[in-house]
């Protein structure tokens, strides 16, 4: 699959939170200010890209030659949390001011479904090494896009009257559902036209 295909697929057609339904908890509740979304989206994209890259290397370099592909989930999650810990230590050492900004989000990103999900998806679809990297970055971008749009929706609804039981999370869920419907406009036919045309 071409890189544009992967980009469109992971960012729009099969958006990681709206279509594949991964990483919902942080998508619905954490996204409360633009700054948080920028930082968390960035951490998540880098984490997803890095982990799908290492997942590719581990799967093709160790798991397949040893004939134990069924260990993928366990090995990948250990790599992801390990990478999270190492990234935290490195950042703390090299650039403490930046680390102070992202320290709360590193463990959250490491245990986010998105990161493990993208690694598993790209291994199971048999992506090459650069395709895995692209898939990770694009999944993070898709997360960022959806969270940013949802926050904008929430902000514009702030002054509207709502029935009491719907205030807070329920209306957020329903807006996310409407957004998922809107994202269905990007479907596989569009993707095929882009890739082959």
């Amino acid at each position: 699959m071409s890189y544009i295909g992967i980009l469109v697929s992971f960012t729009f057609v099969h958006n990681i939170v709206l279509d594949l339904l991964m990483g919902e908890k942080s998508f619905l509740t954490l996204a409360s200010s633009r700054k948080i979304i920028f930082v968390y989206g960035g951490v998540l994209s880098c984490g997803a890209a890095l982990s799908s890259l290492t997942a590719w290397a581990l799967y093709h370099g160790i798991l397949l030659p040893l004939g134990v592909p069924y260990l993928q989930t366990l090995i990948f999650i250990l790599t992801i949390t390990g990478l999270g810990i190492i990234a935290g230590l490195l950042l703390d050492h090299l650039c403490p001011a930046f680390y102070a900004k992202v320290r709360d989000y590193l463990p959250l990103a490491a245990t986010n479904c998105t990161v493990l999900g993208v690694s598993l998806v790209s291994v199971r679809r048999g992506y090459t090494v650069t395709e895995s990297l692209t898939a990770g970055l694009c999944a993070g971008a898709g997360y960022f896009l959806a969270a940013f749009l949802l926050l904008t929706l929430k902000e514009s609804m702030k002054n509207e009257w709502l029935p009491r039981p719907f205030r807070g999370v329920p209306i957020t869920l329903i807006s996310a559902g409407l957004m998922a419907l809107a994202f269905m406009a990007f479907d596989d036919v569009l993707l095929k036209n882009l890739v082959t045309g």
Partner: protein
């Protein structure tokens, strides 16, 4: 001392009140059979992991805590995934990635890290039992609503001459397809949460 059962099922229902572990709740609720299997898988992993964690906590340094506990949940999630692939290939196919993704399920990690590891194994066991039941019931309810509206059927386990699919007359011919899609998952959960809040609010006169 908390009440053992109503806690996780009503007051602190993981899906409808505290909104943890939403990925499987949204993704595995398009068919009833998927929801039942997913609920059971999460229940098993939750109970085993939370009972183990208080015994291990003394030996785990703080920096490696997430690393160690995700290793445990990952091991059990892989076991359950292989188990399902062998016994129920069709359900396993339909659940796809979401069984391995139970490794990083927010509900399991939240119960281990924020409750079970500092309490005793029997408290952790009762907590896991009630949380797991609450999750199971919420997931089954969501799936029932979504499948009836979305495809007009109720898919259960096939037994003997019974194919496992109950068809609802009227809805089967003209289903509201949107409820079977991921958008429908958000809608149903949104309305269910609003209804649950209303019910809880009335009961407590907040």
């Amino acid at each position: 001392m908390m009440k053992p059962f109503s806690w996780g099922v009503f007051d602190e229902n993981p899906v409808l009140v505290s909104l943890v572990g939403l990925c499987p709740a949204l993704a595995a609720s398009s068919r009833v059979i998927d929801a039942l299997v997913m609920g059971l898988a999460l229940f098993v992993i939750l109970v085993i992991c939370t009972v183990i964690s208080p015994l291990l906590d003394r030996h785990i340094p703080e920096r490696l805590r997430i690393f160690a506990y995700t290793a445990i949940t990952g091991a059990f999630a892989s076991c359950i995934d292989l188990f399902l692939q062998a016994l129920m290939p069709e359900v396993s196919e339909s659940l796809g990635l979401f069984v391995p993704l139970l490794t990083v399920n927010a509900l399991i990690l939240d119960r281990i890290l924020n409750f079970a590891r500092t309490s005793s194994p029997d408290m952790a066991f009762w907590d896991a039992l009630s949380m797991g039941t609450g999750f199971f019931l919420a997931l089954a309810g969501l799936a029932l609503i979504r499948e009836i509206l979305g495809s007009g059927t109720i898919t259960l386990f096939p037994m003997g001459s019974f194919s496992g699919v109950i068809r609802i007359p009227g809805l089967f011919e003209n289903p509201l397809r949107v409820f079977g899609l991921s958008a429908g998952a958000f809608f149903v959960l949104g309305y269910a949460k609003a209804a649950f809040d209303l019910y809880q609010g009335k009961g407590r006169r907040r």
